[in-house]
Structures are given as structure tokens and as C-alpha cells.
């Protein structure tokens, strides 16, 4: 099927500038195909912004970038009405949010007030400024990056707002070989940003969406999914289990993943692949459990068997 080729090409295209991170690139694309917002969390300088730019390029979306700082205000994102003295009226100057893909860099450096303005727009797909509701373009994606919360000068996102992101990715250090290649390339191509070619147009995006809706999820698989979800709600290590929205997100991503691998049905491996990205930021460890969300997901996978035994 040609969709598969298109997707593989997009992955390869992004891989040109983000070396050795194919898994994360595929997950990020999966998230955008599932029409979800993406949160990338890692230390500074790991390639978060690079990935965001590259995704915008290959999807051929109009994009804007906002660098979040502690003094950023909601109006700086949403837009503002300015008095025009010529015709004695207010005219609205749209903010950077009126774009198809918004890169919200270091979202946890700004105050909760600004964060919530953005997150509300993410949930509703529209913005209300001065009593007037304005629709955001379609598709509308947010790729937010954030620093690990224990860094100084951050305002951690509350769980309710973390839940609005379909996936959370961590990039991690590159492999030695990939890093070597990057270092070599840096030497020759100076600081210019590499312009990537657009691989997926909006029709193909819609086609992927339609294909996802037709993916078959068998009883066995739903059973496995439900047992995973039930485990997070019942087990002592979890303070908060997966919500029904979390379960829906999990199924949605799993189906998208199956489409990306050219299958009309879902297999447990699909679920296992997307599970860490979809679930880890929605899970909270109970008071005396030392691990973070990622450790919880590993625990979850160990303790829930694919086959009911």
C-alpha cells in the first residue's frame, strides 16, 4: 500500500537530521497521525526542537514557534486587539497560535496562567479573545518541549494538563556511531538548518485517519488492554491509574501504529510499542514507590501477561 511507503519516506526524511532516533520519530508521527498533541521531554540540547522542526517540514504544515519564558502572557500566544486610530476601531492581531503546527518550546518555563491558555486552545481547537470565539486552523497540532521538572525555574504541568498530550517522548543520548556522524556533518555544513522536503500532504493525512478507523481490534487484544488498564487502577504501586480517556488514547495510538506498519488489525506488539509513550506521563507512582512513570510502565508490562493465564 502506498501509505506505508509515504510513511517510511517521512521517517527517513526526519532521520536525516535526527540521527539514530527512528523509534522516536515513528512514535512522534504516530501521535500526529492520531491527531494528538505531542510532549517531548528531555534535557536541553538533546534535539527536541530539531525533531519538532523536522516534523513540521515533512508534514508540510504552516508552523510557528513560541519560546516560553517566565514573563510570557496569554495574549502573547493568543493575540491581541489593537486600537486603530484611523477608523477608530479595534482590530485583532492574531497570535502565533493561529497556525497548523505550534512549537511550544520549554513549556514548563512559563507561568501556569499562560500554560493553561495554551492547553485550553489545545483541548477546544478554538480560542476566545475578548468575547469573540475564533477557530484554529485544521489540522492543529502542538508539539511542546519541556525540561525535566526537577530543573530550576520550571513550573511543572499538572496531571490534568499532561493528560491533554497524547504522547510524551524522551529522546535520550544518541548512539556513539550516530553522534560521530552528527559531529562529522556539523563540521561540513556549518549552522544552516537543513531544509527537509514535504513527504505527506493533507489528503494522505486524511487517508491515514480513515485507515485507522477501519483497523480491527480483536476481543483478545481489548481484553489485554483492559487488563493493563485495570492493573494500573488496582495495583499498590500506582497512585493514579489510567483514565478512560487514557485507555481510549492507548487504543487510538495502537491502531495508528498498526496502520503505520501496514496491518488491518492490531497485535499485542503494537500495544506494547506505544504503551510507554502514551501511558508513562499519565501514571503517578504511589507514595512509597521509588520509580517514575517509565518504571511504572515497565512494571505494568512485566506483570500483565499478554495471554490470560
Amino acid at each position: 500500500m502506498h501509505l506505508q511507503g509515504v510513511i517510511d519516506k517521512a521517517v527517513a526524511e526526519v532521520g536525516r537530521i535526527l540521527l539514530g532516533k527512528e523509534g522516536q520519530i515513528r512514535l512522534a508521527l504516530c501521535c500526529l497521525f492520531a491527531r494528538g498533541h505531542l510532549l517531548i521531554e528531555d534535557l536541553p540540547g538533546m534535539g527536541k526542537t530539531t525533531l519538532s522542526h523536522a516534523l513540521a517540514d515533512v508534514l508540510g504544515l504552516s508552523w510557528k514557534r513560541v519560546q516560553f519564558t517566565s514573563d510570557l502572557l496569554p495574549a502573547d500566544i493568543l493575540g491581541v486587539s489593537v486600537y486603530n486610530s484611523k477608523d477608530a476601531s479595534f482590530s485583532f492581531h492574531p497570535g502565533p497560535i493561529f497556525t497548523q503546527l505550534l512549537l511550544a518550546d520549554e513549556i514548563n518555563r512559563t507561568t501556569p496562567r499562560t500554560q493553561s491558555a495554551l492547553l485550553e486552545a489545545m483541548a477546544e481547537g478554538q480560542v476566545t479573545v475578548e468575547g469573540e470565539t475564533r477557530a484554529l486552523p485544521d489540522p492543529f497540532f502542538v508539539i511542546a518541549t519541556q525540561n525535566p521538572i526537577h530543573q530550576s525555574g520550571t513550573y511543572p504541568l499538572p496531571e490534568s494538563q499532561l493528560d491533554r498530550f497524547l504522547m510524551r517522548l524522551e529522546l535520550g543520548y544518541p548512539h556513539a556511531s550516530a553522534e560521530r556522524e552528527m559531529l562529522l556533518r556539523q563540521h561540513s555544513a556549518s549552522n544552516d538548518r537543513v531544509q527537509l522536503t514535504r513527504c505527506i500532504d493533507s489528503e494522505q493525512l486524511d487517508a491515514i485517519r480513515r485507515a485507522v478507523a477501519e483497523v480491527h481490534a480483536s476481543e483478545n487484544l481489548l481484553d489485554y488492554l483492559q487488563r493493563l488498564v485495570a492493573y494500573t487502577r488496582e495495583s499498590a504501586e500506582f497512585a493514579v491509574g489510567l483514565s478512560p480517556r487514557g485507555a481510549l488514547a492507548l487504543l487510538d495510538c495502537t491502531k495508528t501504529w498498526a496502520v503505520m506498519h501496514n496491518r488491518g488489525h492490531v497485535v499485542p506488539e503494537d500495544l506494547q510499542m506505544v504503551l510507554p509513550a502514551v501511558a508513562s506521563h499519565r501514571l503517578l507512582p504511589a507514595g512509597d514507590y521509588a520509580g517514575d512513570g517509565t518504571a511504572l510502565v515497565a512494571l505494568l508490562q512485566r506483570n500483565v501477561d499478554v495471554i490470560r493465564a
Binding site: 512514535l27 483478545n220 488491518g264 488489525h265 492490531v266 506488539e269 506494547q272 504503551l275 506483570n303
Partner: protein
């Protein structure tokens, strides 16, 4: 109030239900106002729950408590004794409901409920009551379970099912404790049932007493013979021996009526073959026991009186079991002391002149005492005497003259009375014996069931050389009474159990009903002999049979061992995985393949999917790669692809074929260490 401390609705409902089911069996024993108190308490508590009324204040509670005490004092004219204390407990149980504010109060109420449940056994140990109490325990436990399900506001069948399961799980522990827990003597004694009615034959006899008793279908006692059951006409269960006739009533000799020298047990020559049997008596609140002549008891605490009757040192308040050896052919007291002769000849002076005259005349005609006895019996047979349950009332003075010459209608006690008066008047020592005659043989378990309507009175005369000889004048009047039983003897009259219309004994002609009755009676016998009669002595004997010697250490070992035997399976079943829902056959087959691979040294890792497992094994052991990949692909197709049911069954068939044919042997190469890629 915090939600945590509130009483859940369901727990409240269940404890109120438990209150009513618990008080119900006491209803016949306690005053009516206690039952009304239960209704009142339930009403109050429900109104509190609905927010209509409020909890009682301190003074109201004090007044209610004191009124409770006063009410019991007025109803029983005492606060001490079994019934008043149980009534006090029931009153407290009812009143406690009104002040159950928080969860901790419900705990008190529930533990009180378990205690109230036990009090029923102070009055009866009937099999039906035991079953009912078990139901009560389930209801109380349901309240306890509901107390821990605060979120439930609807009736939930799970609650009662869980309680039932818990009670069932407790049953083996109950049995262990019952059979093995040391039966130490009571640490305190339960006060005597001061208000319980004495049942059975009484220690004095007036004409009419036994006829009244004959209206009762209650069981007096049950007998199990070791050998053959003797003929019914030989079953004369001696209970009381009436030697004294004063003011128209027969009584037995009291302890102080007998001179000190005569009090010792008379030695009897035991000749002939003995009958061995054990008797389980229903409680009578009296101390005399029953046995065929001549009865020798098997244990201390049961004595033989100088007139050869059995009695217990304590009053029979509960089902009482004892074993007896009887020597029917043994002569009793061949030599009569002068005191005894004088006692057994004594008649009130000037009484019944016509009877005395008749007796003296007959004695003169007869050649010996034996012939005189026969002549007297002959007279009862020939004259138109009628055996009836409804004899006419006899005058207080000279009653036997009226009976023998005018009315001629009587019941066994009339005949025995008249016969003994005639004997004594003519100088033959004689006395009345009261007890039971006959009994019903239950074919189910070969026991003899003796009912109250089998109560009987007969006579004993002392003949030179023979000692005391049993003479039953009733047998001369109505032989069918002795041969067949009371029912046939009064069949024409239709008075058999005329006052007990609901007794199942009246419907013996209905076959299945009678079978049911006999079976239940056999069950009751087992219950009484194995459970109610399981006392310290039986327990000791049982343990000695099993362990050889009984010591404290062995007792403890048996108790702990049996306890562990019950609890270890429970613990093991808890250790097993909780989810026991049946797996799909497909999964089961696949897991069998996994088991085989595990046996070959390659277990599936926790949470590993079929495809990952196959990949890992194939890397480790390429020889298996092809069949395993086929199996996995087929399994995944069946499990996850949206095939139509027909296609699925086709694929499933080939899966089963491939899976069953796959027999891995040990593989030499090392297992691959690469696991499934979980992290992104």
C-alpha cells in the same frame, strides 16, 4: 460526621433483619413487650436513618434502660436465673440498635448478635434449631460484610454470597474445635431454668394424670438396643415406683421415708441373658430415669434405688444419654424385710370398704397369693370394664369402690390403682409402677422411640419365692393396648392425640409423610448421640481409640494438626492466582506449547508477547524457528485478526495440528539474551 464512621445503609438493614430472625425463636419464651420493643427499636432507627427523628438523649436512654430492668423484674419477679438473664440480653440487644450511631456501634451490635444466637441453645438443641441458627449466623455475617462495603446502596447478592462462603469456610474449623477442643468442666454454671415446665410422668399419681399425658406426641426417649429388640409387649420402661397412697394420690418413697438401714442398694442375683441398650432422654427437669427391669447403669452419677428404679443425681435439663444392662429374669428381693412388707401393705384406714370386702372374699376362695392375683385379673377381664381415655370423674372418698362397682370405665392408672388396693387389702404386698410401655420401632435405624402417649402404669406384687412380679391389669382389660399400643386401644373412641391435631403422628396412614417422619426421627437420634451427647467422656474415649494414650501434649498436637490440615488448603488456594476464569481453548493450547518450551529450557518471560517469544527462541535455537513461527503466526491470526468465524475455525484447526505436533527436544545453542524492545 465523617463518611468513614457512618453506618452503611446495607449493614443497617441486615442487622435489623438479624435482630428479628434472632428474637423469633425466643418469641414463645419471652414476654410480649420485648417483641414490641424490637419493632419499636427498628422503627426508631429507620426514622433516624430517614432523618425524621433524632437519636435518643442521655436521659431517654437511661429511662429506657431502667424500664427494661423493671419490666424484666415484673415479668419474671427476678433478675437472676436463666430466662430473666436471657430476656435482659434480648432487651439490651434491642435497645442498642437505637444508639448505633457509628460503625463501632454496629460492631458491638454484631458481636452481641452472635452471642444472642448462642443463647438459643440454652433452651433446646434440636436439629432444626441448629439449622436455623446457622442461617442466623449467615445473616449476621452478611451485616458484618455489608459494614465493609460502604459504597453499596442497593441490595447486593454478592454480600450475602460472600457471607455464606465465609461461614462455609468456617465449618471445618468448627468441626475441629468441636471434636478436639478439650472439654474442660464449666468455668461457671448457667443458672437453672427456673421457669421451664417439667415434662413426662410426675412423682405423684392421681387418676386422670396419665390420660392427660397421653394427649402428647412429644418424644420421651429413644432407645438403641445392641442386639435384637425384644417384643413390644415386654417393653415396660420402669420410671417411678409408687408405694405410698395418701389422700387419694400415689407417691414414691422419699429419701427420708426410708429408714437408714434400708437405703442401700439391694443385691440382685443376675441370672439369664442381659439386654444391653443405650437411652437418650429428652430433658424432663426431673431426676428419674427409665429402664427395663432389672437395670444396671454404666456410669457414676446414675444410681439404683432400693425399689430398683434408676435415678440421676442431677436434674435432666438437656438431652441425656446413658447405657444400661437389664436382667429381665433376675428375681427381685426374694426376701422382704418387715419394714418393706409393712410399707407395701399400708392402706389409708377405712378407705374403699366394698373393695376390701371383695378382696378378702376372693383371697379366701383362692388357694395361694398367685391364684388370688390370677382371680383378680380374671375379674378385670370378665366384668364389663372399658378402657377409655375419657373416664368419668371419681369421687374423692372411696374412689375405687366407685370405679370397681359403678363406673367400670378407666385408664391404666385406674386399673393399677384398683388392683394394688385389692392386693394390699388382702395382705399381698403390692405397689404401682409408672413409666412407659412399648414404643415405636423406627425401621430406618432400628431405634425404639418412646412417646409421651406411651406413658403407662402397672402393678408389681410380691410373691413368696418369686420376689416382685410385674402384673399389668390393663392387659386383662384391653390386651391390644399392650400388644399394639395406645392408638389401636382407643381407635373406636377416636381420642388418640385428639388434642394435638398437627402432630405428624396422627397422619401415620399417609405413607410418605410417615417415612419422612421416621427418617427425621432417625436423624434426630444420630444428632443426639453424636453431637449433643458428645461430652468429655465420649471425646476422651474417641481420642484414646485414635491416639492410644491421651495426654495434654497429644491433645494439643491433634488440635494444631487438624487446624493446620484445614487452614493449609485455604492458604494454598489463596496463594494461587486469583483469576480462575476459564481460558479460551486456543490460549490453553498455546500455553501448552509454552510449557513444552519451558521444559526444554526456554521459558516465556513475563509480559512477553507470542511474536517476541518466537523471535527470541528462533535466534537461540534456529532448528525450531520454522515450526514455531508457523504456530505463532496461526495463533496470532486466530487471536487478533478480524476473521469471520468460519475462517477462524479453519485457521484454528491448522493451529491445533501444528501446536500438538511441536515437540521440542533440548537445544544446544545458548538462549538469546535479547528481550522484547519495550522502551521506545
Amino acid at each position: 460526621m465523617k463518611l468513614l464512621h457512618q453506618v452503611p445503609r446495607n449493614a443497617l438493614v441486615w442487622i435489623i433483619i438479624a435482630q428479628f430472625t434472632l428474637v423469633a425463636p425466643h418469641a414463645g419464651r419471652v414476654p410480649t413487650w420485648i417483641l414490641l420493643l424490637y419493632l419499636f427499636a427498628a422503627l426508631w432507627r429507620i426514622q433516624v436513618y430517614r432523618g425524621q427523628w433524632s437519636f435518643p438523649g442521655r436521659w431517654v436512654k437511661a429511662v429506657m434502660m431502667l424500664s427494661g430492668f423493671a419490666g424484666i423484674y415484673f415479668s419474671y419477679s427476678s433478675l437472676i436465673g436463666l430466662e430473666p438473664t436471657v430476656a435482659l440480653l434480648l432487651t439490651a440487644f434491642a435497645l442498642k440498635l437505637i444508639e448505633t450511631v457509628a460503625r463501632k456501634d454496629v460492631y458491638v451490635l454484631i458481636f452481641l448478635a452472635y452471642f444472642v444466637c448462642i443463647t438459643e441453645f440454652l433452651f433446646t438443641q434440636d436439629l432444626l434449631i441448629v439449622g436455623y441458627s446457622l442461617l442466623n449466623v449467615i445473616v449476621i455475617t452478611t451485616a458484618l460484610v455489608a459494614l465493609h462495603q460502604p459504597g453499596e446502596h442497593q441490595f447486593n447478592r454478592r454480600t450475602i454470597r460472600l457471607a455464606g462462603v465465609m461461614v462455609l469456610q468456617a465449618v471445618p474449623l468448627m468441626l475441629v474445635l468441636f471434636f478436639l477442643f478439650p472439654r474442660i468442666g464449666p468455668l461457671w454454671t448457667v443458672p437453672v431454668k427456673s421457669h421451664a415446665a417439667k415434662t413426662g410422668i410426675s412423682d405423684f399419681m392421681k387418676p386422670g394424670d396419665i390420660a392427660n399425658l397421653s394427649q402428647s406426641a412429644d418424644v420421651a426417649f429413644r432407645v438403641q438396643f445392641e442386639g435384637e429388640i425384644p417384643d413390644k409387649s415386654q417393653l415396660y420402661w420402669r420410671g417411678l415406683v409408687f408405694s405410698k397412697l395418701e389422700e387419694g394420690a400415689w407417691t414414691n418413697l422419699g429419701y427420708f421415708d426410708i429408714p437408714a438401714k434400708q437405703r442401700r442398694t439391694v443385691i440382685v442375683d443376675t441370672i439369664g441373658d442381659p439386654l444391653r441398650y443405650s437411652i437418650i432422654m429428652e430433658p424432663t427437669q426431673q431426676n428419674w430415669l427409665f429402664g427395663l427391669r432389672h437395670a444396671v447403669p454404666d456410669r457414676p452419677g446414675i444410681l439404683v434405688a432400693p425399689d430398683f428404679r434408676l435415678y440421676s443425681l442431677v436434674v435432666i435439663e438437656d438431652d441425656f444419654r446413658y447405657s444400661v444392662e437389664s436382667w429381665p429374669e433376675a428375681p427381685l428381693e426374694t426376701k422382704l424385710s418387715s419394714w418393706r412388707r409393712e410399707v407395701e401393705l399400708r392402706l389409708p384406714a377405712g378407705d374403699n370398704p366394698r373393695t376390701r370386702e371383695l378382696a378378702n372374699a376372693m383371697r379366701l376362695e383362692a388357694g395361694s397369693d398367685r391364684e388370688f392375683v390370677d382371680a383378680a385379673l380374671e375379674r378385670f377381664n370378665v366384668e364389663p370394664f372399658v378402657y377409655t381415655l375419657k373416664p368419668p370423674l371419681l369421687p374423692d372418698s372411696n374412689p375405687m369402690d366407685a370405679f370397681l362397682f359403678d363406673t367400670l370405665r378407666g385408664f391404666c392408672e385406674h386399673y393399677a390403682y384398683a388392683f394394688v388396693v385389692m392386693m394390699r387389702a388382702a395382705g399381698v404386698p403390692a405397689r404401682v409402677v409408672a413409666g412407659y410401655q412399648g414404643g415405636e420401632i423406627n425401621p430406618v435405624n432400628r431405634t425404639v422411640v418412646v412417646h409421651q402417649f406411651d406413658a403407662h402404669a402397672w402393678a408389681e406384687v410380691w410373691l413368696p419365692g418369686e420376689g416382685w412380679v410385674r402384673v399389668d391389669p390393663t392387659a386383662s382389660v384391653a390386651p391390644e393396648r399392650i400388644e399394639m399400643g395406645l392408638e389401636d386401644a382407643v381407635a373406636e373412641e377416636g381420642t388418640f392425640l385428639a388434642e394435638s391435631p398437627l402432630s405428624p403422628l396422627r397422619y401415620r396412614s399417609i405413607r410418605w409423610l410417615n417415612q419422612l417422619r421416621l427418617r427425621y426421627d432417625a436423624l434426630t437420634y444420630r444428632w443426639q448421640s453424636w453431637v449433643v451427647g458428645f461430652d468429655g467422656k465420649v471425646q476422651f474415649d474417641l481420642l484414646r481409640d485414635v491416639f492410644g494414650e491421651v495426654s495434654a501434649g497429644r491433645f494439643a498436637a491433634a488440635l494444631i494438626g487438624a487446624w493446620a490440615l484445614v487452614l493449609i488448603p485455604v492458604a494454598l488456594s489463596l496463594l494461587r492466582k486469583r483469576d480462575t476464569r476459564p481460558r479460551r481453548p486456543l490460549d490453553r493450547e498455546y500455553l501448552r506449547v509454552c510449557d513444552r518450551l519451558e521444559a526444554a529450557g526456554y521459558p516465556r518471560r513475563a509480559g512477553e508477547s507470542a511474536a517476541h517469544y518466537a523471535t527470541r527462541i528462533s535466534q537461540a535455537c534456529p532448528a525450531w524457528a520454522a515450526p514455531l513461527e508457523q504456530i505463532t503466526a496461526l495463533y496470532n491470526t486466530c487471536s487478533y485478526e478480524g476473521l469471520s468465524s468460519g475462517e477462524t475455525s479453519e485457521v484454528a484447526k491448522s493451529f491445533y495440528r501444528a501446536a500438538r505436533g511441536f515437540r521440542p527436544r533440548r537445544c544446544d545453542s545458548d538462549i538469546a539474551t535479547a528481550g522484547p524492545e519495550f522502551d521506545s
